[in-house]
Symmetry: C2
Subunit: 717 residues, 2 copies
């Protein structure tokens, strides 16, 4: 048994830090790390370690970590890859808790075994590994810049976890330049041991961290990450930038971090599920960080736009619609509050347009009035440079207003549009910690991000309306029957279930397949059709055929005996012709399902996130329209409902052109059953019910076709 | 008859400029305009006009324009709205060509009549009006800043046309701050007379203008605008920002410019049709302007990413996919060219990752090698701040590289990521006219914009592949039969055609309706079904019912006599019940169309753009999925094909899951026929064929249902 892990707190607040591989040569990384630690003024002793001893930058050098003779929680390892294990052994003797392994040459160059050995040794000796292949670690709490990264770090309240060193370096520089302060920077590199989930555990409870920003390229232990994110977003906003979303980007990510990107749609949906704000790129993430730091939690989302330029107001209204920000539209109230400061040619309808005639006094007056009106929950304040609006005291006025809004618990996003004076004003305000923007779309995007996080947090805190869905509704499935349905395929070493096995599985998880019989002869088929009742569908049964319609193996809507006879013969002929040597297990005769809305429900084991469920528009449309939503398991009814609502298929289920509302409960039920199936059974890798025909409520749904894949094994012999 | 219009050239290169309403009071707009003209150093005489005479800013004041006694092409009118007509009369006497009407209080406040009178007077006296309700006009060619806008204008090669004064002011300031030079700024305000189309006529041929940037809120004469844009984009890039795209934004636009926004999807598609680059917001438009100014025309679109940070390379690859930029993937060539400058832990696969070990020499070497390889058509060059990459001479190196790339006809987008030193470097390079960015997505978006414009220009220059479509294919329709089909509805004062009239119209335009008969009695219905052949569809015929299925007026797939009898009775009962007092014109019996892919084709008169055609996925999906494309008329077969390709329905037409390819030619044919119908007949306001069932090629398509609206008039009596 491994010894207990050290407390993660000591990674961020070490009692002492060793630099193993410290060097007197200023050109070496081992020198720069000691220099960085000194420059930032670490709040704990710094111990350079080098077998040659001596002095580096005025500090005495220990020949080994073990000889330091004081508490050392963190050791930065900057020796060549071949000497890292020896260094780790030395650190183990010194009682080190965390190895920050700067050294590269591990998984990213194919050296998986070296990485495995390093972690195994560390864990066996009560140590954890950060990295390898990283630039170091920064912790504001300990004034600790334990790495060879930039020195220009602005302390503050945003923690950055990054899988890429270059993006980490860029983020450090860009945050400093834009006035965003950092509480910690943790590059995770190859994630050989410590990963995002471990770090979130600390950052979630760290009072100095208001926001967590994660740059990620590949997910390794998705289920752990999902749980850690879920716990963190209830307390503070988490912003994620995920690269490798495109085919070519994923290729590049694989080549430089050795990690797989996974399907971007799945990542995107699961991030939404756990309340993460996903930024597309660095600039977007930084704008959100700047705005969300210290932003008050709004009492609601009814927003006001104040502008001195009509066109900018129009653009802001467009941007609010794009980012889902509802505008306050109580025009009577707006007129009462703003008529006095709005000229006749302006407008008190939201946007409140003060026009180019507005002076600085009008402008600040309007913003103060907005502050006095409880039905205005947030404000986007736009200033366009004009000849009339006196600029001199504008920066101060904005700073005062920003302070007043913060004190009143009212978010305000300032947007300043103009020339060099405005540019300088923006820089000055950002340096003073006021988030101001030079584009109305950015301002709206920031407010939208705050609202999105706040909505998620509220939903997590309060139970949803009982009529809509039941957070606690549980479904149960017949585990023994599931095992029985999978048995024959497992025994045969098959990857796919046959039709009748799929239907047995459907029944085992409590779903309704169409009435169905398998016929071995034409006479049996005719008899089966009579038993089931016309119209019927015929389908080929063969282990060799997965997509039956591709080989002419399906005939729909057969109305009578003659049609069944003709279709039976046509199917056999077509399949035999297209699949030479086909072994046929019979022909399945099924009730023809008519009416209802076709959707698809499915579940699978995602390489990154483990068991996930899927919902979308059914039939051939699922492939063409890509109108699908994903969720990680476990799945509550409310989550199932939310994924349905994300798709356009939702409108079809609500009924279009006078049709009745479909039985959406039956769909959430199906999704939950599939979630339980893949969540409790790791033999099933892929289930797809397509179509699930959903009838008007409360008539339920019929699973017309199911396709099930299980873990593949070569057939015995 | 009105006298001839003055040459638009004199608006931009006047021989003299008068300021009517010039004021000695420094607080007045009439003073600031004179000051602005002087400050910029106008290349023509400036004539302040004020009945009081005297001197303003050292210039002698004329009491009237007429007494100036020299050539005056432009008069800036800055008198109160009640005195503008007198001023115009004075200008007419002085031989002025263009009235730049700064004065507000016209259409934007409801004073439509005043605006109409002003334009009528001007046109009757050989003058054109710019505005009213604008801040003035800037023309670099004449060093003319004839307005009360900002003085901080950087001369250069971008012309701005803006419908919003505030956005115009902001754009002037922002371009100056970002190092983008302007050739002209023309606010159009209420567009009472001169509009975007007039101005494009001049700007298209102006050698000083490389790019036209238009900010627009509402389109007035869409067909003229489309033609002017089409002509301009063949010569130079046109970037359009269109606000008022959301419901609330459109409301705000209507209230401050008095113009209607129109449907955003239509605007978007038509802009793509004519090769306009549509930017979402100011920052995007400015980035494109900065990059496109002086950007060389690329020989192709195979792009290389060079980076010293793996993560930034991954993000850039993602961004390239987003903006449709194909990466060069001849890995053998890439290895040959870049292996020498790429360390072992890096990658020569595109992105070329030089890693954090790269020095400035490696970096510039790699970029020079890319320049030497003809199969690399464009480059995205990313620099992440690191400890190793010496920064000192980087700005100069980038400037040298940018020059070399431009000389070689190779576009290069630089992206610099880092802290304050990088921020300063970006500012310095921009001031020197080098477009550099701080976000890989922005760099990729700019290259994507260049490619999009270049593709459009190439397509306009060269004929498309003959197999795909025929640019010259013309369709003809039977105009007399069209008139005959519309006759009864016009005579009755009806807005909608009855079923049989719609089918007559279909035949008149050369399309194929299903076989169909109208039955007045149950017996006739049964006989009609027998004549047409089972299965059949029954539909109610009534002038009062437009959406037949909403009132239970449709029965599908009736297989035999008994089903027809039952359906006939059910339809009458349901319709009578749901529409009390219903007058029934019979029941239509139609062949049941089966198989094939359902699409929708339509045409209508758009309030902004006039006749347009529409294509989308058919049936109920069109409403739910919003998968539609629009084009302005006239429509070539190639344009018709391009609109089909924009939709997801295209994949359905190509055949999914082993289905045959549908007869896409029949769809382009239908679209062209509808285009001719609405293009030649302004009585038809709306036609919708839904569904058009498209069979496997070459079996054509059947127009199952058509809905036609004509210009409404009250019925006589």
């Amino acid at each position: 048994m491994s010894p207990a892990s050290p407390d993660i707190r000591f990674l961020f607040e070490p009692r002492g830090v060793a630099v193993v591989g410290a060097s007197p040569d200023p050109g070496k990384i081992g020198h720069r790390i000691v220099g960085n630690l000194q420059a930032m003024g670490a709040r704990c002793p710094i111990y350079p370690v080098n077998p040659k001893g001596g002095e580096i930058l005025g500090l005495p050098v220990a020949r080994t970590a073990a000889e330091i003779g004081a508490a050392v929680d963190v050791a930065v390892i900057a020796v060549p890859v071949g000497r890292v294990l020896d260094a780790a052994a030395d650190c183990a003797r010194a009682g080190v808790g965390f190895l920050v392994v700067v050294t590269s040459g591990y998984a990213e160059t194919g050296n998986l075994e070296g990485e495995r050995q390093l972690v195994a040794f560390a864990r066996a000796h009560g140590m954890r590994v950060l990295g390898p292949n990283i630039f170091g670690l920064f912790s504001a709490k300990a004034s600790l810049n334990a790495g060879f990264g930039p020195r220009e770090i602005r302390p503050g309240n945003v923690a950055i976890i990054t899988q890429s060193g270059a993006m980490g370096g860029a983020m450090i520089g860009m945050t400093a330049a834009e006035g965003i302060g950092l509480s910690a920077i943790i590059p995770v590199g190859n994630k050989a041991d410590l990963d995002e989930a471990d770090l979130l555990e600390y950052l979630r409870d760290d009072p100095a961290t208001e926001i967590v920003l994660i740059y990620i390229e590949g997910v390794k232990q998705g289920q752990r990450l999902v749980r850690a994110l879920e716990a963190t977003t209830r307390v503070k906003p988490v912003i994620v930038i995920k690269s490798g979303r495109s085919r070519r980007g994923a290729m590049a990510a694989a080549s430089h971090t050795g990690s797989l990107a996974g399907a971007d749609e799945v990542f995107d949906d699961i991030m939404r599920q756990v309340g993460v704000l996903r930024a597309e790129h660095l600039q977007e993430a930084l704008a959100w960080c700047g705005f969300l730091t210290g932003a008050p939690r709004p009492a609601g989302d009814r927003t006001l736009i104040v502008t001195n330029g009509g066109g900018a107001g129009v653009a802001a209204a467009d941007a609010c619609e794009k980012y889902g920000i509802p505008l306050q539209d109580d025009f009577e109230m707006l007129s009462r509050v703003f008529a006095e400061v709005t000229p006749d040619i302006g407008s008190t309808k939201n946007p409140v347009d003060l026009t180019g005639q507005a002076t600085a006094a009008h402008y600040t007056d309007a913003l103060r009035r907005a502050l006095g009106e409880p039905a205005i929950h947030a404000v986007i304040a736009i200033y366009c440079e004009t000849a009339l609006l006196a600029f001199d005291d504008l920066p101060d006025a904005i700073q005062r207003l920003a302070r007043a809004y913060r004190a009143a618990g009212r978010p305000v996003a300032f947007c300043l549009l103009g020339g060099t004076r405005v540019t300088e004003c923006i820089a000055r305000l950002r340096a003073a910690g006021v988030a101001v923007f030079n584009e109305v779309y950015t301002a709206a995007a920031c407010l939208g991000a705050l609202n999105a996080w706040d909505r998620h947090r509220r939903a997590a805190e309060t139970a949803p309306a009982p009529a809509e869905c039941d957070e606690d509704r549980a479904v149960s499935i017949d585990f023994a029957a599931v095992r029985a349905a999978l048995g024959p395929a497992r025994a045969d070493g098959r990857r796919f279930l046959l039709a009748r096995e799929g239907q047995a599985l459907l029944r085992a998880i409590g779903m309704r397949p169409p009435r169905s019989l398998v016929a071995g002869t034409l006479e049996e088929a005719v008899a089966a059709a009579a038993t089931i009742g016309y119209p019927v569908v015929l389908k080929i049964v063969s282990k060799q055929v997965v997509h039956k319609s591709d080989v002419g193996g399906v005939a729909l809507d057969l109305e009578n005996r003659d049609e069944v006879i003709a279709a039976y013969q046509a199917i056999l002929q077509s399949c035999r012709q297209r699949v030479p040597g086909l072994r046929i297990g019979g022909v399945e005769v099924t009730e023809m399902v008519r009416g209802g809305t076709e959707v698809i429900v499915g579940a699978r084991r995602d390489p990154a996130f483990g068991p996930i469920v899927m919902f979308g528009l059914g039939g051939i449309y699922v492939e063409v329209l890509a109108d699908v939503a994903f969720r990680a398991v476990p799945l509550s009814q409310c989550e199932a409902l939310s994924m349905i609502k994300e798709t356009r298929a939702h409108r079809l289920l609500l009924g279009v052109r006078g049709e009745e509302r479909r039985d959406i409960d039956a769909v959430t039920d199906a999704l939950q059953r599939l979630a339980v199936l893949v969540g409790t059974n790791d033999e099933v890798t892929d289930v797809e019910i397509n179509p699930l025909v959903v009838y008007p409520a409360p008539e339920g749904a019929t699973a017309v076709d199911i396709r099930v894949a299980i873990r593949g094994e070569s057939p015995p012999g």
